[in-house]
């Protein structure tokens, strides 16, 4: 039997985390952090090993499959596997978590618990992407909430209790929909099973699909997040510490996008054909709305948090585009934002360690004292505003081209949406560059420099950012490095959704018009 790469990647960090209480440590975290870093790196190597040994990017189907009966009476099996949708995100998860361990280096308050939660999250998040069973998915999804809750509630900022409670109510509440829809889909028809492959083969009725789709959209829309379900995010991000931040922005948000592709598109294609215009509209709203709120926000962390929401809007447009290029771009945007978002949040944390304030009004002119930090901030902000040569540009471009050439929509709809989305192209530099302007440019803020000691970036910080920049620039120069790893799966997915689109029941006015009618009344046909 082949080595169980995915099970190992899920269980190893969780198992190792359980050993943390026995790690000799004086309580300041200086020993346990090496242990945690070692575990996270090993996990990363396991996922890379799985990718190199058991994964063939040219195949569209499930690979690295492992299946063990767990609770046969419930129809529950330990079933994991990876296809193009999950493999890149599994790699991203273990990669970002290793860097988050490095970012957590200065943590000295209850370090053992902190690293325990970090490693537990690592396994839980890989599980979310790797499991192939809806019940397991729900369990993994819930399992990963608890560490985040504790990480927020114990290590957060001043309003941490509020933020943590809001986070748990929002996500736990919305994940109820996953369970309900999962149960409903499993019991639909004769064959009771939670496995994706079985669910995919079921012929769901259209109305059933629409109901399930709506439920899942709420659940995943909270996670992504989709405006107006986003308000947990600025609070959670505003209170989290830098490593938690990196995980929230780098991986947690991607769970929403991944789940949309996995369930809403793959399992419920007929409903997706009806709902897709709504996704596009919501994506555009995300882009513009969050860019504006980010521009007005005076708190640095919340500013970047809103910029994350804005960038995730492109994912929605890509998912709704019904084109291989656009969907591929959505996938790339998730990976790219995972890297760029993590780097920006890491920098926010590193800057806060020095300035002890996040209010832009209290900063200013610190570029002269922290030149390397200034350079790193500039590079990451340029990456975030989709400068060519970096990954964000490629993914946004693919989504733009994919959507504007999509056959699924009328020309006028495409024009309006593309123009509105392109306004984001103007707004993003406005808020990012004015942010840089207020932090680093201009005369030194003497009030700040008089009572803080601004040291420049240390090697550890430069190393973390460089690790993130290598893939960011690599993808920017030659995107096929990444897109080829999931291309086959995305193309199969798009074929599936396009078939459903063709069978979309036409209203009398004709196929082209329905997209516009859907726009006006997008939810349920009468």
């Amino acid at each position: 039997m082949a080595f169980p790469w995915l099970s190992a990647a899920i269980l190893f960090p969780i198992g190792a985390a359980l050993l943390i209480p026995f790690v000799p440590d004086k309580g300041d975290g200086k020993q346990v952090r090496w242990f945690a870093l070692g575990v996270a790196l090993t996990t990363f190597l396991i996922t890379v090993g799985g990718y190199l040994n058991g994964y063939d990017p040219a195949q569209e189907g499930l690979q690295l499959v492992e299946r063990v009966q767990w609770l046969p009476e419930l129809g529950l099996a330990w079933s994991v596997g990876a296809d193009g949708l999950s493999m890149p995100l599994i790699l991203l998860t273990s990669f970002i978590t290793s860097l988050a361990c490095l970012a957590a280096w200065p943590v000295s308050f209850k370090p053992k618990l902190f690293y325990f939660l970090l490693l537990a999250m690592d396994g839980g998040q890989i599980a979310v992407f790797a499991v192939q069973d809806m019940l397991l998915f729900f369990l993994a999804w819930e399992l990963e909430l608890l560490p985040v809750y504790l990480l927020l509630a114990i290590w957060g900022g001043k309003k941490r209790q509020y933020a943590a409670t809001k986070f748990i109510i929002y996500t736990a509440g919305s994940s109820l929909f996953i369970l309900i829809v999962g149960l409903a889909m499993a019991f639909y028809g004769g064959n009771t099973s939670f496995e994706y492959s079985v669910l995919m083969a079921k012929e769901f009725g259209t109305k059933f699909q629409l109901l399930c789709y709506a439920g899942l959209l709420i659940a995943f829309g909270v996670k992504l997040p989709i405006v107006p379900l986003h308000t947990w995010l600025p609070d959670a991000h505003g209170e989290a510490t830098a490593p938690v931040h990196m995980l929230l922005a780098g991986i947690l948000l991607k769970m929403g996008g991944y789940a949309l592709l996995r369930f809403n598109v793959q399992l419920l294609p007929a409903a997706h054909a009806q709902f897709a215009p709504l996704l596009v509209v919501l994506g555009v709203v995300n882009i513009i709305y969050a860019a504006l709120t980010s521009f007005a926000q005076r708190n640095l962390k919340r500013k970047i948090a809103y910029s994350s929401i804005s960038h995730m809007g492109f994912v929605l447009i890509g998912i709704g585009s019904f084109s291989a290029l656009g969907t591929s771009g959505a996938m790339l945007q998730m990976i790219s934002h995972g890297l760029i978002g993590a780097s920006l949040f890491f920098l926010v944390g590193a800057t806060y360690d020095r300035t002890h304030t996040l209010q832009l009004d209290e900063m200013g002119g610190i570029g002269q004292k922290m030149r390397k930090m200034f350079a790193l901030w500039t590079i990451c902000s340029l990456a975030s505003l989709a400068l060519p040569g970096m990954s964000g540009f490629v993914s946004e471009l693919m989504i733009f081209v994919g959507f504007s050439t999509s056959e699924a929509y009328t020309l006028s709809f495409r024009i309006v949406m593309a123009v509105l989305a392109a306004i984001g192209v103007i707004l993003t530099p406005v808020y990012l560059l004015s942010m840089l302007r207020e932090i680093f440019y201009g005369r030194e803020n003497t009030e700040l420099t008089s009572h803080t000691h601004l040291v420049d970036a240390e090697p550890r910080e430069i190393y973390v950012i460089s690790c993130l920049l290598v893939p960011i620039i690599g993808i920017g120069l030659y995107p096929r490095l990444v897109t080829d790893t999931y291309r086959a799966s995305i193309e199969a997915l798009v074929v599936r959704e396009s078939l459903a689109l063709k069978e979309l029941p036409l209203p009398p006015a004709g196929g082209e018009l329905i997209r516009q009618q859907l726009l006006k009344a997008p939810l349920l046909p009468a």
Binding site: K166, I169, Y170, L176, L179, I180, L183, A184, G205, F208, L211, V227, P228, T231, Y289, L292, T293, F295, A296, S323, A324, L325, T327, S328, G329, G365, G367, Q368, K372, F374, T378, L387, P388, F393, L397, M398, F400, V401, S404, T405, A418, V419, A422, V425, I426, P429, V430, L433, S434, R437, Y441, G442, E444, D456, I462, P479, R480, T483, R487, I490
Partner: protein
């Protein structure tokens, strides 16, 4: 052995490698690398120099009649789509390659002198190499998409370089303004590229041109949509080449170091817009309405730039507005369907304007020794005067530049500008008239700059005037200047060889290069467009050429004489005679047509207000609802406590109830 054209990809890659090396060094070993000033500069100059050698080899091949070379590879693909990247070398590209590498090389040598005492010397050279690389990449791009990539990258370099002295508020604001205004143009460019790809399925220049005509002919794209797409794409060049109303960033960009103003904001990057329009001729030539818009925009720009330049007191700002005006001429040529004339003016202008800017840098550098490192003082012509005696090389080359830009034969500007005016006379006589009058204004304001700076008596020692100027700029005496007081000189001196040599070198093409483009035997046209060459030679007649050329020269001489009367001989006080009599017009020009004020009110304040109100909605309404529901559920949870024993059961109950509900629902739906 591969031909030079096949190795053309090395031209942008060489400076890029150099920039990466020194950039990585700066981040990893900041102190050490900052100390290695000369070795780093030498490395980067060598990399650009190697690119220059290769560029001239490419040009030589093209002169020898080699065919264009295009190499492509699949850059991104999904489904049936392939986005291709690569490079393409043809005559137009070869000319631009040589132009960019030559000016970049000279500017780098010049910078060694200009930035000698700056603590950001290594960073400056790194940015310069990065810019050269991006600009060269733009020039050899084979399709619109790749142009867009490098278009953004040169914009980024411009942002970094304008904001080079980031502790100055002016530079910081200008950098941001430059980037955002350019993004407004890119917004149109991106949408236009997307639209053209939708309409023609291609990003290539020729394919887009023929594809769109085909699509219009077979009715799949209406004529209006096609024109709209062309105009959207044109928004990109409008921003990059500082055309009205998106020119507002260019004068502010003068906050950057002067070598940058010469390289990026006069010779190369701002010309990229004109270059793109030339590349898109296959597209534009089919739509006369688009050409008309381009010509009108160019004409407004050339008049606007010249009119504002009349009143500028800042030497660099005066040159900046003159650049705006000259870019307008180039765009006018494009609109007249004469890309060869426009490109020729681009080339000649690049040489003499780079020389003028470098000359102004030499002046500012010298002034700083007298008045300190305060741009408000060092760049103001009211404090200059009489510099000809102490700075012979700078003043001579500056004078050559002024003569060239004013259009006095046989210097470069005459041939190229006259060719444009001749074309405009044939296509749009009204626009020709505006261009013709502006030619006189150009001669006037350029010689006004020259006389104020280099003739008369030196006024830099006038401390009372210095205080007035500082007060007018809202600065206090001795903010920046104070700590430089100890090494102040009384009179400015000529700059060192690093700065004087590039000036002297640039003077040669400024005088001679126009002779390559004489209308009866234009070797430039023969290289870039042989058809146009044959056409020009056939159409040429002395009877048409002489009156138009004579009129141009006459109006230029009139402008020069007026400037001489007013600023050299002081026979005429224009402040009394004109400015005081028409205060409205004077205020209108001094306030730059009020465009900055309008932008600030409408867009800057407007967007701030909008963003503020959206954030208010977000925190009060959207989040308010959430908090309210939170309170309510908390209340109901409290209530439930009496009936249930805990949350877990409640949670399970909801799940259970939900499932039952759904099952019932599906049962009824069937």
């Amino acid at each position: 052995m591969p031909s030079a054209a096949e190795l053309a990809w090395l031209i942008p890659v060489l400076p890029l490698l150099g920039a990466c090396l020194s950039g990585l060094g700066l981040i990893s070993f900041n102190r050490t690398v900052n100390r290695l000033r000369k070795p780093v500069a030498l490395l980067l100059i060598t990399s650009v120099g190697a690119a220059a050698v290769l560029s001239f080899a490419v040009l030589a091949e093209q002169l020898g009649g080699a065919a264009p070379v295009e190499v492509l590879f699949n850059w991104a693909s999904a489904g049936s789509f392939n986005l291709q990247m690569g490079f393409r070398v043809d005559a137009l590209g070869a000319v631009m390659l040589c132009l960019v590498t030559t000016v970049a090389l000279l500017v780098m040598v010049y910078s060694d002198g200009y930035m000698a005492h700056d603590k950001g010397y290594v960073r400056f050279f790194t940015y310069l190499a990065l810019f050269s690389s991006s600009m060269l990449g733009l020039v050899i791009s084979p399709n619109l998409l790749e142009i867009y990539v490098f278009w953004e990258l040169v914009g980024m370099c411009s942002y970094l370089l304008v904001g080079f002295w980031y502790d100055r508020d002016g530079a910081a604001n200008a950098a941001q303004k430059a980037f955002v205004v350019n993004r407004v143009g890119d917004f149109g460019l991106l949408l236009g590229i997307l639209g053209l790809f939708w309409a023609t399925g291609s990003f290539g220049f020729e394919q887009i041109g023929s594809g769109l005509q085909q699509a219009v002919a077979d009715g799949s794209v209406s004529n209006g949509v096609a024109i709209l797409l062309c105009l959207l794409v044109f928004m990109g060049p409008m921003a990059k080449s500082a055309q009205f109303p998106l020119h507002v960033w260019l004068p502010d960009a003068m906050e950057g170091p002067t070598p940058i103003s010469a390289l990026i904001h006069a010779a190369t990057m701002v010309a990229a817009g004109v270059f793109l329009v030339a590349r898109l001729q296959p597209l534009y030539e089919a739509f006369p309405a688009v050409n008309l818009v381009i010509a009108v925009v160019g004409t407004i720009t050339l008049f606007l730039g010249a009119s504002i330049a009349l009143t500028q007191m800042d030497l660099k700002k005066g040159l900046a507005y003159s650049t705006v005006s000259q870019l307008g001429y180039m765009m006018l040529a494009m609109g007249c369907g004469a890309p060869v004339a426009g490109m020729f003016h681009l080339v000649t202008h690049a040489f003499f304007k780079a020389m003028l800017f470098l000359g102004s840098g030499s002046v500012i550098h010298a002034m700083e020794e007298v008045v300190g490192h305060e741009p408000v003082l060092a760049q103001d012509m009211r404090l200059m005067g009489g510099l000809r005696r102490s700075m012979p090389i700078t003043s001579t080359t500056f004078l050559i530049g002024c003569v060239a830009i004013s259009g006095i034969p046989p210097l470069a500007g005459f041939w190229s500008k006259d060719e444009i005016l001749g074309q405009a006379f044939g296509s749009f006589p009204v626009l020709w008239a505006v261009g013709f009058i502006t030619a006189g204004m150009t001669a006037f304001y350029m010689f006004r700059l020259y006389f104020l700076t280099f003739e008369g008596n030196f006024r830099g020692g006038d401390t009372e005037l210095q205080a007035q100027l500082l007060a007018a700029a809202g600065k206090t005496v001795g903010s920046d200047a104070a700590h430089n007081d100890h090494h102040k000189a009384n009179l400015p001196h000529e700059s060192g060889w690093q700065m004087a040599m590039p000036l002297a070198v640039l003077a040669v093409p400024s005088v001679l290069i126009g002779l390559l483009g004489t209308p009866w035997n234009s070797r430039f046209a023969a290289l870039v467009d042989p058809h146009e060459y044959a056409h020009m030679a056939k159409e040429f007649s002395w009877a048409e050429f002489l009156p138009l050329a004579g009129a141009s020269v006459a109006i230029s001489l009139a402008g020069i004489s007026l400037a001489a009367f007013a600023y050299l001989l002081h026979k005429l006080d224009l402040a009394q005679a004109v400015a005081a009599r028409f205060p409205r017009i004077n205020a209108f020009l001094a306030n730059k047509w009020y465009l900055d004020a309008i932008n600030d009110k409408l867009f800057v304040q407007g967007s701030r207000k909008l963003a503020k109100s959206v954030l208010d909605v977000d925190s009060k309404v959207v989040d308010g609802v959430v908090n309210l529901t939170g309170l309510l559920t908390l209340g109901s949870g409290e209530g439930l406590k009496y009936f249930e024993t805990g949350r877990a059961q409640f949670y399970a109950l909801i799940v259970f109830g939900g499932v039952i509900g759904l099952v019932v629902l599906f049962g009824s739906l069937g």
